[in-house]
Symmetry: C2
Subunit: 231 residues, 2 copies
C-alpha cells in the first residue's frame, strides 16, 4: 500500500462494549442485549471483511498488505489470523459477498420487472446500489486473477451464472424489442466493465449519490441494448 493514506481507526474492540454488561446465571440474562461470544466473533470477522474489501477495491489486492488491514482495524497483523486462515481467504470471501449481492439483485429484478428490458434495468440499478451502498463499494471483482486456481474456479462458477442470467435477459430483450445486430455476450461485458470500474472512482461523498449513479447507469445500459438512435 505505497500511497499517501488518510487516518481512520474503526478498531476491533467489540469487547469494550460487551465488557460493560455483567453476565450472571447459566444462560446469562441480558442475552437479548449482550452479544454472545460467537456473535461478537462473527461481527468482528464481518467487519474485517468489509474493511478489507474496501481496501482491495480501492488499491488492489497485491497493493494492500495485511498490516494495512490490521492497522485499519486497530489491531496487530497476527490478530487477523484469529479470524481468517490467510489473505487469500479474505479475498475469496469478498468475492462471495459480491456475488451474493448479484443474486439479490437478480431476485429483486425478477420480482419487480415485467419486460426483459425492465428486468435488466432493475437488475443493473439494484446491483450498483447494493455495491456502492451496503458494503461501501466492496466489489473486488477486479481482483479475479489474484485468486488461487481452486478459488478461481469457484468464483468463476458464480460469475458465469450471473453473466449467463444477464445474457439471457439481454437476448430476450433484443427479441422483444426487435433489435438486430447486437451481440449479447459483448453487451454483458460492456456492463460488467462499467460496473467494475465504479469501484475505482466511486466515493460515498462524491459529486453524485449512489442512487443517481445506479439509475443513470441502468438507463444507459438499457438504451445501449435496445435504444434506437435518431440519424
Amino acid at each position: 500500500m505505497r500511497r499517501s493514506s488518510a487516518s481512520k481507526k474503526p478498531v476491533l474492540k467489540t469487547k469494550a462494549l460487551g465488557a460493560r454488561a455483567p453476565r450472571r446465571g447459566r444462560v446469562s440474562a441480558w442475552s437479548n442485549v449482550v452479544m454472545s461470544a460467537e456473535q461478537q466473533f462473527a461481527l468482528k470477522r464481518r467487519a474485517l471483511m468489509k474493511e478489507a474489501a474496501r481496501a482491495f477495491s480501492l488499491y488492489g489486492y497485491e497493493a494492500t498488505s495485511l498490516l494495512d488491514i490490521a492497522k485499519m482495524m486497530g489491531v496487530t497483523k497476527a490478530a487477523l489470523y484469529h479470524y481468517v486462515k490467510n489473505k487469500q481467504e479474505i479475498l475469496f470471501e469478498c468475492h462471495l459477498l459480491s456475488h451474493e449481492l448479484g443474486n439479490q439483485a437478480i431476485e429483486y429484478a425478477n420480482a419487480n420487472g415485467d419486460s426483459s428490458l425492465e428486468k435488466i434495468r432493475l437488475l443493473a440499478r439494484r446491483y450498483i446500489e447494493l455495491l456502492t451502498d451496503e458494503i461501501g463499494s466492496c466489489a473486488v471483482l477486479l481482483e479475479f486473477n489474484a485468486l488461487t486456481p481452486e478459488n478461481r474456479a469457484v468464483i468463476a462458477g458464480h460469475r458465469d451464472r450471473f453473466e449467463r442470467h444477464l445474457r439471457n435477459l439481454v437476448k430476450a430483450a433484443l427479441a422483444e424489442n426487435k433489435v438486430a445486430g447486437r451481440e449479447p455476450k459483448l453487451a454483458v461485458f460492456f456492463l460488467m466493465g462499467a460496473v467494475n470500474w465504479l469501484t475505482r472512482w466511486y466515493r460515498p461523498d462524491g459529486e453524485f449519490d449512489s442512487k443517481f449513479i445506479a439509475a443513470q447507469f441502468a438507463d444507459m445500459f438499457a438504451s445501449a441494448i435496445a435504444g434506437r438512435v435518431a440519424r
Copy 2:
C-alpha cells in the same frame, strides 16, 4: 506473478540479427539495411514496453515482477536496467503510450465524423481498435494508482484532457439529439469502465475479433447516450 504460466520467449537478441551483417567503411555501407546501435536500442526498449504492458494489463502491475518481464524477453532482470530506470518508469511510459492512442483516436474522430454522436462513435471504435490491435491490449489504465504521486499527476492530466474532450462531445451530442436527463460525466465513466475492462478479458484469439468488438462497443455507447427505448 503467482499463476500458471504459458511459455513463450521473444528474446531480446537483436544482436544475433545485426551480427550476421558485416559492416565496413566509415559510414558503414548497409546502413539502410542494418540498424544503427541507437535504432536497435530503441527497438528493444519498445519491445520491452510492449511486453510489459501486456503483462500489466493481464495480471496487474504489482502481480508482475521484473523477473517475469525479463523472462519474457529472454534476458536477465539486471539487463532490463540498461533500458529502463526502474519499474515505475515502465508503468509510466505504458500509460503515456495508451494516451497517445487516445489522442490518435480523437484526431481520427475529428477528421472523419460530422455530428457529435458520429464523432463519439468513431472515437470509441478507433480507440478500442488501437488498444486491442496495435499494442496487443496494452491499456494499463487499470493501474493508475500504482503510479508515484508525481507520475500520477502527469497521467491524470492526460486522462482528464481525454475525458474532458469526450465529455464535451457527449454534451454536444445530447443537445443535438435533444436528449435530457443524461449526465455527461457519468456517461464518460461508463464508457471508460467498459473499455478498461476490455484489457482483462480480450484475447487476440478469442471468440470475437477486435474490429467487431470495437464496433459493437461504439454502437452501444452511442445508443446509451442518445438512444431512445421503445416503451
